[in-house]
């Protein structure tokens, strides 16, 4: 049986890993290459590297880090941040990424998903979606959660999957950084809407939050988090042993 994935996310800026709370107040954590290696040894099933730099020159540094990581760490690597064109897909895939996650780039250019899926296959295209409740509706936010796009989230996700997105990362802005658990209500709606793997993001504060995610939503495929892993609040190897003890299929 296929196992539930545990995915640490590394936000990388100026060759360092950073993590914010509600997307603000970034704190430096560690070297991305070292952290990636450590997570892989501890049993991480996949890694997400998020490029949060803006300038073209730091983009080159990010690509170097990606190459170095992919030369030493042999688990799937997803890369996101600053993906606006098929050329951006080329750049990161040629540097060792296996999957590419699109967010604001797809909102600006809705053809990006279909073009990338046609060239690289759906398995390569991950839709990442930052969602927040606004007036009782799920709204898609762009630019790292700063801008309300006015798009309704479930409709947007369904449309992108129709265009060829092979996986969806659902990041709840409402629960992100709060550390009180994943956004079960939001995730459940997404799971009902699409039949591709769905990755939960935003809200993990403890191992219990992951257990409760997989117990409450048996169809969810993976749990993604950053700071709880970076700061050692949750040890991936301990978490996976607990998952096994709770009867959740897991790779150990």
């Amino acid at each position: 049986m296929i196992t539930k994935r545990i995915i640490p996310c590394l936000d990388v800026r100026d060759s360092r890993v950073v993590k914010g709370t509600n997307f603000a107040n970034l704190n430096d954590v560690s070297s991305p290459v070292e952290l990636a290696g450590r997570y892989s040894q501890c049993g991480a099933d996949e890694l997400v590297f998020y490029d949060i730099t803006a300038s073209a020159e730091s983009r080159g540094i990010f690509t170097d880090i990606l190459r170095e990581t992919a030369s030493r760490v042999f688990i799937p690597l997803t890369v996101g941040g600053g993906i606006n064109s098929v050329e951006d897909f080329d750049r990161v895939l040629n540097s060792g990424a296996d999957k590419v996650s699109v967010n604001s780039g797809a909102i600006r250019n809705p053809k990006l998903v279909s073009e990338a899926a046609l060239k690289y296959g759906s398995q390569c295209v991950v839709l990442s979606c930052d969602i927040k409740r606004v007036d009782g509706k799920f709204a898609v936010f762009a630019k790292g959660g700063r801008e309300n796009t006015g798009l309704e989230a479930i409709e947007w996700i369904r449309r992108c999957v129709g265009e060829g997105a092979g996986e969806v990362v659902v990041n709840s802005i409402d629960t992100d950084g709060v550390k009180k658990g994943f956004d079960i209500e939001m995730l459940e709606k997404v799971l009902k809407a699409v039949n591709v793997p769905v990755i939960a993001s935003g809200g993990a504060g403890s191992a219990d939050d992951f257990i409760s995610l997989f117990k409450q939503l048996p169809d969810i495929d993976a749990g993604l988090a950053a700071s709880v892993f970076h700061f050692g609040t949750v040890s991936i190897s301990d978490l996976k042993k607990r998952m096994r003890d709770e009867g959740i299929p897991v790779r150990i």
Partner: protein
């Protein structure tokens, strides 16, 4: 020396990195002479079957590969590369494969219940069969490997050295003599995958 066939399909970064990490010699080439000169041939591949099979055929490397395989040289197909070892694929039509292992490649769609997602993405444990292969030396029953695919091989169980369960039994490691295939990505399957690639480089083929 392993030759990774370069025929313009897929990303070879991780495969090259894995061999470098293992300290194994490997060459990435689309030159028929290199395929003839090396000890072992690796056929990678991602994307659409028809497109990949067409590219392999247009370069003439399909014939070289079949010739070398018939001489007993170990050949390992990975993911779509494995699927191309079979007689045919039913991916969006019907396409001819290399015919090195009897069987066809068929879609998950229609074969598995709706609650099983397509593609089959993620880590799934291997269920080793009675069919042994040196490729899996040191690999244990239940070891997890990383899959990403929407089609799977439909073949006789005598060609299957390991299955994975995804509502249907998915041939994960296949073998017909010196021709081998992995449906999963060993270069993305951590220690277990590296072990398989190391076996392919160094394994005793007798």
């Amino acid at each position: 020396m392993v030759c990774i066939i370069d025929y313009g399909v897929g990303n070879l970064f991780s495969l090259k990195s894995s061999f470098a990490y293992l300290g194994a010699e490997c060459l990435v080439s689309g030159n028929p002479d290199d395929l003839r000169a090396c000890d072992r041939i690796l056929l990678p591949g991602v994307g659409a079957f028809s497109d990949a099979a067409d590219k392999l055929r247009r370069t003439g490397l399909d014939r070289v590969l079949i010739e070398e395989a018939s001489k007993g040289k170990p050949v390992l197909g990975i993911c779509l590369g494995m699927q191309m070892l079979f007689d045919k694929s039913l991916e969006d039509g019907e396409w001819r494969g290399l015919g090195l292992i009897p069987g066809s490649v068929v879609p998950f769609k229609g074969a598995i219940p709706d609650n099983f997602k397509i593609p089959h993405i993620g880590w799934n444990p291997l269920e080793l069969t009675q069919e042994r292969t040196w490729l899996l030396d040191g690999v244990r029953n239940g070891d997890h490997v990383y899959f990403v695919h929407s089609y799977y091989a439909d073949c006789d169980s005598r060609f299957v050295c390991a299955y994975a369960e995804y509502s249907v039994r998915v041939p994960a490691v296949v073998r017909s003599g010196n021709v081998l295939g992995c449906q999963f990505h060993p270069e993305k399957s951590s220690e277990v995958g590296l072990r398989i690639l190391k076996n392919f480089c160094e394994g005793d083929i007798c």
